[in-house]
């Protein structure tokens, strides 16, 4: 398949606006302005574009909610805070091809009626901070940003806001809190972001990869775009595949690509000719899959039916020699570190599970600990405001379902058969 989003990622100096324009960049602006904002919105709705940050909410519907609110100014925010472990799919847009994001944001803001925009960028990408700012300056100089863009009455200002290392700020309302200078913690809805988002104004928060698709939809049409990928979730997806593969990396493929093809064709198969033990298909907050799931299609519905989720499309591959208990402990150490501390079940539960998992990994666990893990998981599930704790539960429950014998081995054998130890961080 011909690449759509990553087509120009390796073109030298594509971060320069003139190079970007010589490759067809910024053409969607004229097209969108000629169509009018209502038609742009309609086109995105018809395309079936869904949010690629992990929730897969229909983008057009999200925009519609905001369009319907008759209060101004409105804001459009690009969520560039990818922090779900395993995820590195937005880096090409942030570090190499920034104008593709800016173009997508201008067209999206036009459809929504937003006059202000921010790119909430994770603090771990300092290069992207410089590259995005330079690209925004160039776009201002060309008259693509600022007042009366290309002679229309549409004005849009854009700036980068740098985070400082907090996974939770990738959640839309926490992101907005953080943008406003507060601790990034979840807001209870309603009111929804569409009516009371940034600075209590109507706001849309979209993932970077969602936004970069918009200009392609405008340029090539909704029907063409939705002809790619699967029916329930069309388009291409930048899959970030990592772990024990011969060729890990980013691969832009149609939605619905079979997991087997992703691993064995694009990923080059398992390193050292080993067998596959497990796959985490969408970042650490999605449930484990096993070799019996290899024929699942990588789309929203299929992965849900397989008992997991596509998440951000961050697929981690574990070979036969991997210790599942150790990996689940690692995942839980992450959640315990990143829990914002607001909801008790998540704050206490993730820490408790981390310590329980460490105990098992280090040979000090009991069979009762397995019940504790289940019990704490069910206490977190449905009892927290935001999805962080919900996500933390997934690797625990799914590993207990598929790999309970590994936990039992650790407990009965008083330690990790692979000799690994869970080490407390300072």
């Amino acid at each position: 398949m011909e690449k759509l989003l990553l087509k120009n990622a390796d073109v030298p100096n594509i971060n320069d606006i003139d190079v970007y324009m010589s490759h067809g960049g910024y053409l969607s602006l004229d097209k969108a302005f000629a169509m009018g904002s209502a038609e742009v919105l309609d086109m995105v709705k018809r395309s079936g574009l869904r949010g690629r940050g992990g929730a897969w909410f229909p983008a057009g519907m999200k925009w519609q909610f905001c369009v319907e609110v008759d209060r101004f100014p409105k804001y459009l925010i690009a969520n560039a805070d990818e922090g779900e472990p395993g995820t590195f799919k937005d880096r090409p847009f942030l570090e190499k091809d920034p104008h593709q994001l800016i173009e997508g944001m201008i067209v999206s803001a036009y459809a929504i009626g937003a006059s202000g925009g921010y790119i909430y960028l994770r603090g771990e990408y300092p290069d992207a901070y410089r590259i995005l700012n330079a690209a925004i300056d160039q776009a201002y100089k060309k008259g693509f940003l600022g007042k009366n863009i290309k002679g229309t009455d549409f004005s849009f200002d854009l700036a980068v806001h740098s985070g400082a290392g907090a996974y939770i700020c990738g959640e839309a309302s926490a992101l907005i809190e953080s943008l406003e200078g507060k601790r990034g913690q979840f807001r209870v809805r309603p009111p929804y972001m569409a009516t009371h988002g940034a600075y209590a104004k109507p706001t849309v928060v979209n993932n970077v990869e969602t936004l970069v698709n918009v200009s392609h939809i405008i340029n090539k049409g909704a029907a063409w775009w939705s002809g790619i990928g699967s029916k329930d979730s069309p388009g291409t997806k930048v899959f970030g595949i990592s772990g024990h593969l011969n060729k890990p990396g980013l691969y832009e493929l149609p939605m619905g690509v079979p997991l087997r093809e992703l691993i064995y064709e694009h990923g080059g198969g398992i390193r050292g000719g080993k067998n596959l033990k497990a796959v985490i298909p969408g970042g650490v907050s999605t449930s484990f899959l096993t070799p019996e799931h290899l024929d699942v299609n990588m789309d929203v519905k299929s992965l849900q039916e397989a008992g997991s989720a596509i998440g951000s499309g961050a697929t981690m591959v574990l070979d036969e020699d991997t210790c599942i208990v150790h990996i689940v402990w690692r995942a839980m150490a992450f959640f315990a570190h990143e829990s914002c501390g607001r909801c008790t079940p998540c704050r206490e539960g993730t820490d408790w599970m981390m310590r329980t998992l460490a105990r098992i990994d280090n040979g000090e666990g009991t069979m009762e600990d397995l019940d504790i893990l289940k019990d704490v998981s069910h206490t977190i599930h449905n009892n927290c405001f935001c999805p962080l704790g919900e996500g933390a539960v997934m690797p625990v429950l799914s590993s207990l379902k598929y790999f309970r014998h590994e936990y039992e081995e650790h407990i009965k054998g008083k330690g990790c058969p692979k000799g690994l130890r869970a080490r407390a961080r300072h």
């Binding site: 590195f88 700036a159 200078g181 650490v284 570190h337």
Partner: protein, 155 residues
């Protein structure tokens, strides 16, 4: 009380102009202050809070909430090694042990000569090329023990 430099104050004001509410300048202000002072001491937090126009407790709250704001002095070079799932699958834990041996410090510590601070961090978005680490603002990928030796020699 410490004094913010002209450049830091300028950075704070430039940032503030980008938002409809001055409170939004707090994070950019903390970044700017960290660049000037190396880390965010109590005195620095007080100065930042004053410059932005927020209570000190708020500046403190933001500083302690985030991993990348240093709350205590760090070495000349800050080395952040990812030990999250994808990097651990690729051997990050062995790399951590090697770094600790090589630098003679435990994770979280700073070498006696003040040259390196070693931190174990969560995902740095380099999952396809792990194990990975960042020294200051430079990423290093597909680490091995010998590669780490070569990299450290450059600092």
């Amino acid at each position: 009380m410490v004094e913010l430099s002209k450049e830091t104050i300028q950075e704070i004001e430039t940032a503030a102009a980008k938002y409809p509410d001055r409170n939004s300048a707090l994070m950019p202000a903390l970044w700017a202050a960290q660049r000037q002072f190396g880390y965010l001491s109590e005195e620095v937090l007080e100065a930042v809070a004053l410059a932005v126009g927020v209570p000190k407790a708020k500046a403190q709250g933001i500083a302690t909430y985030h991993t990348l704001y240093w709350k205590k002095p760090v070495g000349k070079n800050v080395l952040m090694l990812c030990t999250n799932v994808a990097c651990t699958l690729m051997g990050a834990e062995t790399m951590l042990e090697h770094l600790e041996r090589k630098l003679g410090i435990r994770e979280g510590g700073t070498t006696p000569d003040g040259k390196f601070t070693l931190m174990e961090v969560e995902c740095i978005g380099s999952c396809g090329s792990g194990p990975a680490m960042v020294i200051n603002e430079t990423f290093y990928y597909e680490l091995t023990e010998s590669k780490i030796d070569e990299i450290l020699a450059k600092y």
